[in-house]
Symmetry: D2
Subunit: 135 residues, 4 copies
């Protein structure tokens, strides 16, 4: 269950010709939440982390408008495999953040920093994630 | 199986801090392919079409670089439900377009133009899609 | 002199292959500041306002990094012509917002809502702007 | 006078809530043209070139729509200073590319690859540019 919360301001540039936040921007919102999650939970800069994004998926529930002003992205890790980390996201709008705009998932693969090949998630990272999420 | 082909130039702005095409841009590439598909196969402007994107998913196989210069997106419809249309995409790089960078899916829901509620895919659209794909 | 202040979070997606905020994103930052300015000062939704952007310019002083986390955009109107409004911007980084990353200008032209042709800036708008800036 | 020509496909994502190509995207179009110019004229990868963008400006003449499908960006160098290179751009639309959508300028500063400080434009680069443009 996602527990880490990031608030993101909706930009005019996020809106497309249909008047809603463009679908590609949801990937940017979850990436931004992931950046904050790595910084806050793992004390790591995502752009320095030895990881690669293996897959993403998005279920759109309602559109986000410029007048929503902000979205709240709730992030969490729900499964840690040998070298993969599964994250889930809820993108919510509204002052109390209780209106679900989209659900999303991302699978991140940990890479050996030297070979860039998939490698076991380091134990300290695994323990920090499991502890943070009571897994 | 995807059969409609769209070539897209990789822009410098598509690249992120990691030196590869950013994951959100794959959604833009498939959206661009969908725009071309609607124009070529359905003779319809996607931004005028009475449809909404319900879900997307992306499996990343290898990174795309600025030096790849272009990607080829193969698009197809593989299933037509009562009011939904399932599209699959292959994003390929390389001069002969035979190097798979990502696979993607998108589910589009047809809306009643007056109520904006899900409605049956119109018969002419259904027939055109089934005929185009030999479904 | 710019006096209206907007804080904008730097997104991972704002960074380009060179590791800095991409030059096009400065246009997005000033647009976002303009959206806030129109909302706060003129009580108007920029996307509904009957205006068009005639020109922009940007002087880049230092790069903005992801680690800067936020930029502060100071916005102001420094001249109001018959149908044009000249805005200036300072894009600043740093906790105390005193480190100048860029200066920018934008000229906005007021349009007749019916003909979409340039038209005199309405008196109430002119007076609000002049009063806000002591012009 | 701009002489190097780059054709760029207008993407659905380039369009904003007002239904036109967003102003920030013109910076992306000219950047894309600059990338092609550096590759074609200087045989250099812009992201590897030891240069920094010092300033840009854009004069918008008419909006670009998705139905324009492509823009043609004409690029040229009109002045070479000690360490700076002034480029001008014309962004044109229409099948014959004769409809001016915007004019733009960019000043690029050459940096010493070791100190990252402004340095004289190397003679071979200066000569190639002057020869290409009959300066």
């Amino acid at each position: 269950m996602p527990v880490h919360s990031t608030e993101i301001e909706v930009r005019f540039r996020d809106i497309d010709a249909l008047g809603h936040v463009n679908n590609a921007v949801y990937a940017t919102y979850t990436e931004q939440a992931r950046t904050a999650y790595f910084r806050d939970v793992l004390d790591t800069d995502l752009s320095q982390a030895s990881t690669v994004l293996a897959s993403t998926s998005f279920d759109f529930r309602r559109s986000v408008e410029l007048t929503d002003e902000t979205v709240t992205v709730l992030s969490g890790v729900d499964e840690i495999g040998r070298s993969s980390i599964s994250m889930t996201y809820e993108i919510r709008v509204g002052g109390d953040g209780d209106d679900l705009a989209a659900e999303a998932e991302a699978t991140i693969v940990y890479l050996d920093p030297e070979t860039d090949e998939p490698a076991p998630v380091p134990e300290p990272m695994r323990e920090t994630l499991m502890s943070y999420h009571d897994l």
